[in-house]
C-alpha cells in the first residue's frame, strides 16, 4: 500500500511573528521557516507504517514556491521515498489545496493519506476534511493512534471530552494530532541520501483546478496588547487583590 503525505512549509513555531505596518499580513522576510509540526508527525507515522511492513511506499507532496522543496527534502531525509512539488506562487486556501491534492490522489491511488490536523500559520484545520469530502473517503481527524488491518483502519481521535475510536474503510484520510508519535530527527547520512531521492515538479495550473479564492484578506492587525500587570509579594496580597481590585472571586 502506498501512503500519501501532504506537507506544508510554515514559519518556525518558536518564532514570534510580527505584523507588517501596512496591515497586509505577517512579515516573513528573513524569518526561519520549517516543516509544519503536525506534518512532521504525519511523515513519521507514514514511515513507521512502512517500517512495520504495512506500507510499501511513502510519497510526500507540497504546494507552493520552489522554497517548499527544502521541506520536501526534510521529509525525504525522515524516510519518505519520493516527493512531488506542485509549483505555484499563489497563496492558496484550504479548498484549492484540497482540490489539487484530490488530483494527486487520483494519480497516485494511495491506500491512505496522512496529513497534519492544522498548519500553525493559518490555523485553519480544514484541508484533510476537505480532501476526504472531495475524494469521498472516510476521515479520521485528530488521530492519536492509527491501526491498520485488512482493508480498514482504526483511528483513535482526540475529542473534547476524551478519546473516540472510529473504523474507516480504506482508502481513507487521517489527520494527525500532537500525541500520535514523537517525530525522529534526520541523521546526516539520511540528509545526504535524501538529496538523491526523486523529486518531481509539476505546475499547479497543469492540474486543471481553478486556483482563485473567494476569500480576501482585508487587513491583518496585531492583537490587543494586555496591560502590564503587577507582581504581588504574598498569597494574602494576591487573594486581597482578586477580591477587592479585580473582583473576580
Amino acid at each position: 500500500m502506498k501512503i500519501l503525505v501532504p506537507v506544508k512549509r510554515v514559519i518556525d513555531y518558536n518564532v514570534k511573528v510580527r505584523v507588517k505596518a501596512d496591515q497586509t499580513g505577517v512579515d516573513l522576510t528573513n524569518v526561519k521557516m520549517a516543516l509544519n509540526p503536525f506534518c512532521e508527525i504525519a511523515v513519521e507515522e507514514a514511515v513507521r507504517l512502512k517500517e512495520a511492513g504495512s506500507a510499501t511506499e511513502v510519497v510526500v507532496v507540497s504546494i507552493g514556491s520552489s522554497a517548499v522543496q527544502e521541506q520536501l527534502r526534510t521529509a525525504l531525509a525522515l524516510g519518505a521515498d519520493r516527493a512531488l512539488h506542485i509549483d505555484t506562487e499563489l497563496n492558496l486556501d484550504s479548498l484549492q489545496v484540497a482540490k489539487l491534492l484530490a488530483k494527486v490522489v487520483a494519480d497516485e491511488q494511495p491506500g491512505l493519506v496522512i496529513l497534519g490536523k492544522q498548519a500553525i500559520d493559518s490555523d485553519n484545520n480544514q484541508t484533510g476534511q476537505m480532501l476526504a469530502a472531495l475524494t469521498g473517503m472516510g476521515q479520521g481527524t485528530f488521530a492519536s493512534k492509527v491501526t491498520l488491518s485488512a482493508g480498514k483502519v482504526a483511528v483513535t481521535r482526540e475529542i473534547d471530552g476524551g478519546l473516540q475510536t472510529v473504523q474507516l474503510t480504506l482508502p481513507a484520510v487521517v489527520s494527525t494530532d500532537l500525541r500520535l508519535n514523537e517525530p525522529r530527527y534526520a541523521s546526516l547520512p539520511n540528509i545526504m541520501k535524501a538529496k538523491k531521492k526523486p523529486l518531481e515538479v509539476k505546475a499547479a495550473d497543469s492540474y486543471g483546478v481553478s486556483l482563485s479564492s473567494a476569500v480576501s484578506v482585508l487587513k491583518v492587525t496585531a492583537p490587543a496588547v494586555r496591560q502590564g500587570g503587577i507582581k504581588v509579594e504574598s498569597v494574602a496580597e494576591l487573594v486581597d487583590k482578586l477580591k477587592h481590585e479585580a473582583k473576580v472571586i
Binding site: K16, D123, Q126, M130, T165, T169, S216, K231, V235
Partner: protein
C-alpha cells in the same frame, strides 16, 4: 438570507457552546434555523427551541447520526445548506471535524474560528496562534463558519421555536463508531467555566495536580493543563489549553507552574484576569499576567486554598 446553525449536543442535552454560536449568528441579522442531528435527540432539540433568537429547529433523528460521524453529518448538512446563506457551528472538535467537509461538498471556502462578525460577509479570526488577527471578506454564495465559543456570550433562554422533524438519512457507510473513552469530571467544563486553574510542567507529576482540586472546588473552577503537563502524562489531553488544545476566556485564569509558551498563550490570553504563579521571575507568563506571584507552587497552593 437565512442561517443554518448546527447544534452541538450529546443526544440528551445541548452543549453550552451552541448558545454562544446562536449569539454570534444574531450579529448576522437573518432567520436562524438550528439543526439537531443525532439519535434519540428529542430532548436536545426541545432545548434548542428555547434559545432566544432561534426561529426554527430541525431534528434529524437517526442511528446514522448518533456519534456525529463527519461523513454522515456532512452529507446531511451539505444537502440542507444549499438553501441557506450562512452555515455556522462551534469550533469544537465536533464542528472542526464535519464543517470543512460540508464546505468542500458545497464547493465554498470555510472560515475557521471566527471571533467577531463585522457584517454578513466580513469576519475576524486569529492566525499564527493568535499573534495576528485577520479580517477576511468572503464572496462565496454560502458562508461556512466555525465560531470560537469563548469569543461570544451565551444567548438567553426564553423562546418556543417550532420543532420540525427531517426524514432524510445519509449513511455513507465508509466509517463506523467503535468506542469512546470520556474523561469523567464533576467540575464545570473547561470551555464554559468562569474560573480556570491550570498546571504545567512545574507540577512535577500527576499526583500533585490534586493540589489544585481544593482551590478549584472553592472557586467553582475547571482544571486545565499546559501541553508540557499533558505530554509528560500528568493529565489527559482533553485538559490541554492552547493552540492545539482548548481555547478558554474565563473571568479568572490561574496559571501554576506554566512558563507561558506562545502555544499556551494562544489558548488563554483573552481571559479577563490572569494570575501567574511561577518560581522563575523571568517566565514569559508574567508578561501577560495581571497578578504575578514569584514563589514555589508547593508552598503557595496550600496557602491559597486555606485563604479562599
Amino acid at each position: 438570507m437565512a442561517i443554518l446553525l448546527i447544534a452541538e449536543h450529546n443526544n440528551q442535552s445541548l452543549k453550552a457552546e451552541t448558545h454562544k454560536v446562536v449569539q454570534a449568528a444574531t450579529a448576522i441579522g437573518a432567520d436562524i434555523t438550528v439543526l439537531v442531528a443525532g439519535f434519540n435527540c428529542a430532548a436536545a432539540a426541545n432545548e434548542a427551541a428555547t434559545i432566544a433568537g432561534v426561529d426554527k429547529v430541525l431534528v434529524a433523528d437517526n442511528a446514522a447520526y448518533e456519534h456525529q460521524l463527519a461523513e454522515n453529518i456532512a452529507a446531511l448538512v451539505a444537502e440542507l445548506g444549499k438553501n441557506y446563506s450562512h452555515i455556522l457551528t462551534a469550533a469544537t472538535t465536533t464542528g472542526k471535524n464535519f464543517l470543512p467537509r460540508v464546505a468542500a461538498l458545497l464547493d465554498v471556502a470555510q472560515i475557521s474560528d471566527v471571533i467577531a462578525i463585522e457584517s454578513a460577509d466580513t469576519f475576524v479570526r486569529p492566525i499564527y496562534a493568535g499573534n495576528a488577527i485577520a479580517t477576511v471578506k468572503s464572496a462565496d454564495a454560502i458562508k461556512v463558519l466555525t465560531v470560537r465559543p469563548a469569543a461570544f456570550a451565551a444567548a438567553k433562554i426564553g423562546n418556543a421555536a417550532p420543532v420540525e422533524a427531517l426524514s432524510a438519512v445519509h449513511d455513507l457507510g465508509v466509517s463506523a463508531f467503535v468506542s469512546a473513552e470520556l474523561t469523567k469530571s464533576e467540575r464545570p467544563e473547561l470551555t464554559a467555566a468562569r474560573v480556570v486553574i491550570s498546571g504545567g510542567r512545574g507540577m512535577q507529576n500527576g499526583e500533585n495536580f490534586a493540589l489544585l482540586n481544593g482551590i478549584a472546588d472553592k472557586l467553582g473552577a475547571a482544571i486545565g493543563a499546559s501541553r508540557a503537563a499533558v505530554d509528560a502524562g500528568f493529565v489527559p489531553n482533553d485538559m490541554q489549553v492552547g493552540q492545539t488544545g482548548k481555547i478558554v476566556a474565563p473571568e479568572l485564569y490561574i496559571a501554576v507552574g506554566i512558563s507561558g509558551a506562545i502555544q499556551h498563550l494562544a489558548g488563554m490570553k483573552d481571559s479577563k484576569v490572569i494570575v501567574a504563579i511561577n518560581k522563575d521571575a523571568e517566565a514569559p507568563i508574567f508578561q501577560v499576567a495581571d497578578y504575578g506571584l514569584v514563589a514555589d507552587l508547593f508552598t503557595v497552593l496550600p496557602e491559597l486554598e486555606q485563604q479562599l
